[in-house]
Chain length 450, copies 2
């Protein structure tokens, strides 16, 4: 993409309303625009990051055997009366009437609707296990929306629901979600620690929240520092393997890690040696629940088991805050110049800065680098504008592309361009085709594919 | 995908509420479930088709140089007061108040919001031309929602907006959209005829609707039959080439083609020889508009031109009904057994029917075919259930996968499987690996890629 043809409205001034760094940088980098309190447009750069995160979530859900579908944003109130949550849910639920005076709401979550879908079509244990999920816009009418997309009102969430015959099977679904979430967050360059949590309005006997450590996190967290040494890495997972999923759950949750809601100071001291006790702040980026028959019983989601008895299914629900992750990743990965995107979610794979737009040789070299990267299936952003080098560097640093190729007449005389890592600031000079090759290696695209 | 692990709730009975074939087949094939009047869940099979259509729309928009972004579903009422449409828009607009009593609405379209985004960031003609688009859920509170996703209330739409310095530039954007739409629909296996239309509530001096001919269409249409001979085909398009886009517009719109709203019987008789005059019904699947400064003037979307004068930008908007297209494609492509998906939008590339699940040789052959197709990047649906062959064929015919590979012990004794075309019903026997090769050829995947 050539920047001269793109829409990247970066701001020089830091907007006054933004209190935390991710909100400031998202506004300054032209990623979002507020349209009403807690409601944002995703400008092209922000939209690209949102999509990359969504793609990773889809890929990992599908890998775990979960089936994508899509429920609508609006729901009839009657469905929520069946579970008893219509009255229980507070003013955070956006309620209204349609032109025929029917009571509706903008879905804040989908347990009722998915249970309705399940009971409509599934009658036999033979159709289990089943996990359905969707990624859809939700609305929670927060009293005081703030922190940009971190606590917005209209937000994008993956929510998945498992249906199982027994508690044992449902706990395997729970473990499977935990495993797939660990992998999901790591692909985004995040360390998200599963912490024992409280059920809240969803309910649930078993529940873990996933927290990313960050000074601006809304939750206080207490954990054993040994946890931060754990890496999921590139493990070969069989998501049907009950023992394997259970072992990974134990590996990642056996050490003390709790939010302030469930924290127990005495236990903390008993279980964690003093030098490993950590008190910090965290951002919640996901949560998993097992809640048994809480919805299936009142809503009549029953199956016939192998003895011919009708029994309520065991369920759980599992959420990832897709739009919130954009902010959380920035909170976890930035410096005073701007964002530093992990390679997994970067909106463009690298930037190309032309130090002298208009110089025939520099223009030709940039064009060639741009076109080579595109031919390799990569997505570079080429700053071809007639601007000062300093302004171009400042923009690239602000929007946080992990790699930058700088091209100028002086370097080209020696046959080289400069490849710079955004995170370390380290640069190296190398021939243009070697810079392209290096970027291709980083993103794992074999040159042969071109 | 193995059907035993998928969620495909096909219905044997035709639901009473469905009046048209696409609605009937979408319900029967387990593609959608109604959640409230005109509000649907997209079950896994329906969701896949919706996604394939969305992908084609994205690819063709990006090819035309248009920039993706995403606006929220909810909008503040104040924005619509600026354009004067808040009062003008009737009860189809879903209006409500949030917990702080602020007036909001569920966006039925986005001219106001995109104009607000534009005026916030763009001040100079140097940043033009610019076309931004998004694909997002919309809501129109139809009095009588019906025909399934064809006239739903919550619907998925691509809407794009061009911003240009002059009327001339904006008309090129109009032409560019027309060209990209022709290509978009043809990739979906549809012939969508651009017809001169009426501006309606969007407004507009120039507007064309794209109509797919179908008996169940809501519009009466009048056209010169010569139009149906036109094919867009695989043309090499330079979307910056003003003359080329203009020539294609003329090629596809110079002959008489109008909906009942703009039909002129006298002109029809003057321009079209009797033997080519057609009166039929059509389904609207898209519309493009040029409306000049209708929104930019009242909302103050101005740029400084090269003479230093502040002038309102020329705009247009351009929509494709993404969710509606799922129904339109079925209306245009089905028989009495079910849907017949065009290859471009099929939810699975082919079906595999195991005639004798449990037979070691048949199971092994099906597994091998399935895995070979997956390795080629294809997405087959393998019916591995323990069901009668007749039931398996009926399901495959109903859900409309364009190709079916049938595997049974008798054929395997002779080293062959059967490859069947859903559209023609023609079958041929061939060795399993040749069947895979043939499917790969059809979908244009080189075997070498594996």
């Amino acid at each position: 993409m050539r920047l001269s043809r793109y829409f990247l409205p970066v701001l020089k001034e830091t907007p006054a309303e933004a209190q935390i760094v991710s909100h400031r940088y998202m506004l300054r980098a032209g990623m979002i625009k507020q349209q009403a309190a807690g409601i944002y447009s995703w400008l092209p750069l922000g939209y690209k990051v949102l999509k990359r995160i969504e793609e990773i979530v889809h890929e990992e859900q599908i890998r775990a055997g979960h089936i994508p579908m899509l429920m609508p944003t609006l729901q009839p109130a009657d469905l929520w009366r069946e579970s008893g949550r219509y009255d229980a849910y507070g003013p955070e639920m956006l309620r209204f009437k349609d032109r025929h005076d029917r009571e509706m709401l903008y879905g804040p979550t989908n347990e009722e609707m998915i249970t309705d879908i399940f009971r409509t079509y599934v009658q036999s244990y033979k159709d289990l296990p089943l996990t359905l999920y969707h990624i859809q816009w939700k609305f929670r009418d927060e009293m005081r929306p703030r922190f940009g997309v971190m606590r917005g009102r209209e937000f994008y969430m993956k929510d998945g629901y498992n249906f199982d015959l027994t508690k044992e099977d449902a706990l395997h679904a729970y473990n499977r979600h935990l495993v797939s979430y660990l992998r999901t967050y790591e692909r985004m360059g995040l360390q998200a620690i599963p912490m024992r949590a409280d059920g809240g309005p969803i309910g649930g006997d078993y529940t873990h929240e996933f927290l990313v450590l960050a000074e601006t996190g809304e939750s206080e967290v207490f954990y054993d520092s040994a946890i931060t040494e754990l890496r999921f890495g590139n493990r070969d997972i069989d998501y049907d393997d009950v023992a394997q999923c259970q072992a990974i759950l134990e590996e990642f949750t056996s050490r003390y890690a709790r939010t302030d809601e469930t924290h127990d100071e005495t236990l903390f001291h008993q279980q964690v040696p003093e030098e490993r006790r950590r008190r910090a702040r965290g951002i919640e980026v996901g949560q998993i629940f097992y809640f048994g028959t809480k919805y299936s019983e009142p809503m009549g989601a029953m199956v016939v088991n192998d003895k011919g008895e009708r029994v309520p299914v065991h369920m759980g629900s599992h959420g990832i805050g897709v739009s919130r992750l954009v902010g959380a990743i920035i909170e976890a990965s930035h410096d005073d110049k701007g964002i530093i995107w992990p390679e997994g979610v970067t909106p463009f794979h690298c930037g190309i800065v032309n130090l002298k737009t208009g110089d025939a040789e520099a223009d030709a070299a940039c064009d060639a680098i741009h076109d080579s990267l595109v031919a390799l299936g990569l997505d570079p952003l080429y700053d071809d504008r007639d601007e000062r080098a300093g302004a171009k560097f400042a923009t690239m640093d602000l929007i946080g592309l992990p790699w930058r190729i700088t091209v100028g007449p002086r370097g080209l005389k020696n046959g080289v361009v400069e490849l710079t890592c955004r995170r370390t600031g380290e640069s190296q000079e190398l021939p243009p085709e070697k810079a392209v090759e290096r970027i291709a290696q980083i993103y794992g695209k074999a040159l042969a594919e071109a």
